[in-house]
Amino acid sequence: MRRLLFKSFVQGLLTEPAPAIDDAALAELAARVNQASHKRLGRALSIREVDAGSCNGCELEIHALGNVLYDLERFGLRFVASPRHADVLLVTGPVTVNMREALERTYLATPDPKWVIAAGDCARDGGVFAGSHACVGGVSRVLPVDLHIRGCPPSPVVLLKGLLALLESVAA
């Protein structure tokens, strides 16, 4: 243990510089973010992740945002355990019929002001599962979506660019 701690100490910080903010995401958000809410939140956002039937690929990459190289929390962004503590719902998956009600209830449990991000191609339009009898197909069919992040799955850098754009728009 001592050796590991010493090694961590001498090797210095592994965390990488922040990526540039995604312009397309900024443009999408500009139309949606309410000016009135800016001052209320400062530069911190709490995120509740909701898997609405994804294959788990998106969750793996969202998880990676917390590793030492991306270190999401340095930006004031953190994942919280309850929608009641959240400002943002980060939703993945093609919204299965079986998850629809849980997603709606999670949204209703989230206090205003709140934003919804649809992460991944399934959350955008159902992805490869579009047209299935078991999927609603796309988060925007169930909730108002403020930002779409593309990818199958979106990489941590792509996710981070989108989240930073939201932070920028909200805290501008």
Binding site: L5, A64, A81, N98, F129
Partner: protein, 474 residues
């Protein structure tokens, strides 16, 4: 080399029932049970000889004799068949809907003094997949856990019907995102067995390379997450870093961090690039350098071992009865690995050990993963050394018009053995396909393993199992 196919026989009801009796007696292991309109199918393996077969029974009046009546591992698959195909397993002890969620759901009652229920999910506290756990507890102690799954049911089996091989392969790669390589590989092998396609040797070896990288990434992630659930953050950070390094190397070599859609019918989407071998050898060297210190910390931190040793014990008898695959089975004495039995290329030409222990607790499942990481590191090196040259892909087409073809494959993913059964019709359209995730026979065992543990240890038990929701829910 073409994959070995499993024979399928259409049996009479009596023979189907006899197979159920033999499953109950432990002479056969159940590898899958699924349906289509008018037929039910099951894949079984003889315990003694390891002979694999698929049995099919015609369902007159949409009914067939329940296997779950005698062999509990078949109950959830039969509930799914009722939901998805509308066939009625006669004598099925539990006829509640499973994957189709409509109306209210009656959890089974637990009786006794001072019991209370704790409902958890489908939206969990962490960044994980959705499912519902209904705990009945006495104080802190879990008396009973009942799982309710199906929240991520996407209708994969029905989307497969009529799909082109390309579309079906894309679906297969998204049944469980953490096992995308293993699922794509299982699908491709089953399709190639059906169409009798021989893929180039280089593709066979590269596929194994991708599969071992996927195993490494997931095992790193799992060990870190288990330590995190014991509130031991430093190993979570360190193992998370190792996982990230594997994913970045995969991205640099194959253009996708999870290597999604890289294994395709006929071979691979792309070849290993010129600097690929150097990158992979650098990765292996780095991991070999960092890993021993981490294992030492895991093994010598009393507060951490206090949480994992003796927690969530799965008995070898249950692991055997359910034919539990992967680290769950191997941590509870079940010596099975699909790379060995029935086995597939190129593993017949690679040296590796299959670690097995008897303890069956969280600690055992951590140690199996550690040993498998060591094996996978050695396998990647062997593959790089022996990698044949030549092409990495061959066209997929039926050589002669032979009508309907079928194929079966069993592949060892990081979580255990994945079964694929495919029937291909004219113009290489999928007529029917079923892919069975290892979690089908692991989820029920979690209910047994947590009994008598404290509620606070459930995340630890659950993470050490790490069953797939999406893979199970299809």
């Amino acid at each position: 080399m073409a994959s070995l196919n499993w024979p399928r026989s259409i049996v009479r009801r009596e023979d189907w029932e006899r197979a159920a009796v033999r499953l109950q007696a432990g002479e056969l292991s159940l590898f899958g049970l699924w349906g289509e309109p008018r037929h039910a199918h099951m894949a079984v393996m003889e315990r003694e000889t390891n002979a694999c077969t698929v049995l099919s029974v015609a369902c007159d009046g949409n009914r067939f004799p329940s296997v779950g009546r005698l062999h509990p591992p078949a109950i959830r698959p039969e509930r799914a068949i009722r939901d998805l195909v509308g066939l009625e397993p006669e004598g099925l002890p539990d006829t509640r809907a499973w994957l189709r969620h409509d109306g209210s759901y009656q959890f089974l009652p637990a009786q006794g003094e001072s019991l209370h229920q704790i409902p958890v999910g489908p939206v969990h506290a962490g960044i994980i997949e959705p499912g519902h756990f209904r705990f009945t507890a006495n104080g802190e102690t879990i008396v009973r856990l009942e799982e309710r799954l199906g929240y991520t049911h996407k209708g994969v089996d029905s989307l497969m019907v009529g799909a082109s091989t390309e579309r079906a392969a894309a679906l297969a790669g998204r049944i469980s995102g953490d096992s995308t390589v293993a699922f794509s590989l299982t699908f491709a092998q089953a399709l190639e067995a059906a169409l009798e396609i021989e893929i180039p040797p280089r593709a066979v070896w590269l596929r194994a390379l991708l599969a071992e990288l996927e195993r490494l990434a997931n095992h790193f992630g799992d060990i870190g997450a288990i330590c995190n659930d014991a509130a031991f953050a430093i190993l979570h950070a360190q193992f998370g870093l190792l996982r990230e390094q594997v994913l970045r190397t995969a991205d640099a070599c194959f253009g996708h961090r999870l290597m999604m859609d890289r294994v395709v019918p006929g071979g691979l989407l792309c070849d290993l690039p010129g600097d690929g071998e150097r990158r992979l050898r650098t990765l292996i060297a780095q991991v070999r350098k960092d890993l021993p210190d981490l294992i030492e910390v895991y093994d010598n931190t009393a507060s951490l071992k206090d949480r994992t040793v003796g927690t969530g014990i799965l008995s070898p008898a249950l692991a055997r009865q359910f034919a539990a695959g992967g680290f769950i089975g191997r941590a509870s004495g079940r010596n099975f690995d699909a790379r060995r039995t029935p086995g597939y290329a190129p593993y017949d030409r690679l040296k590796f050990e299959v670690p097995v222990v008897q303890a069956g607790d969280v600690n055992a499942r951590v140690w199996i993963r550690i040993r498998e990481i060591e094996q996978s590191l050695a396998l990647v090196e062997q593959i790089l050394t022996q990698l044949p040259s030549g092409s990495f892909r061959t066209p997929v087409a039926i050589k002669v018009e032979t009508g309907v073809r079928e194929g079966v494959a069993l592949v060892e993913g990081f979580r255990g053995d994945i079964l694929a059964w495919i029937r291909v019709g004219p113009e290489e359209r999928i007529e029917r396909a079923h892919l069975r995730d290892p979690s089908w026979f692991q989820w029920p065992l979690l209910e047994a393993a947590v009994e008598g543990n404290i509620v606070a240890d459930f995340p630890l038990c659950n993470k050490s199992f790490n069953c797939s929701y999406s893979g199970h829910d299809l």
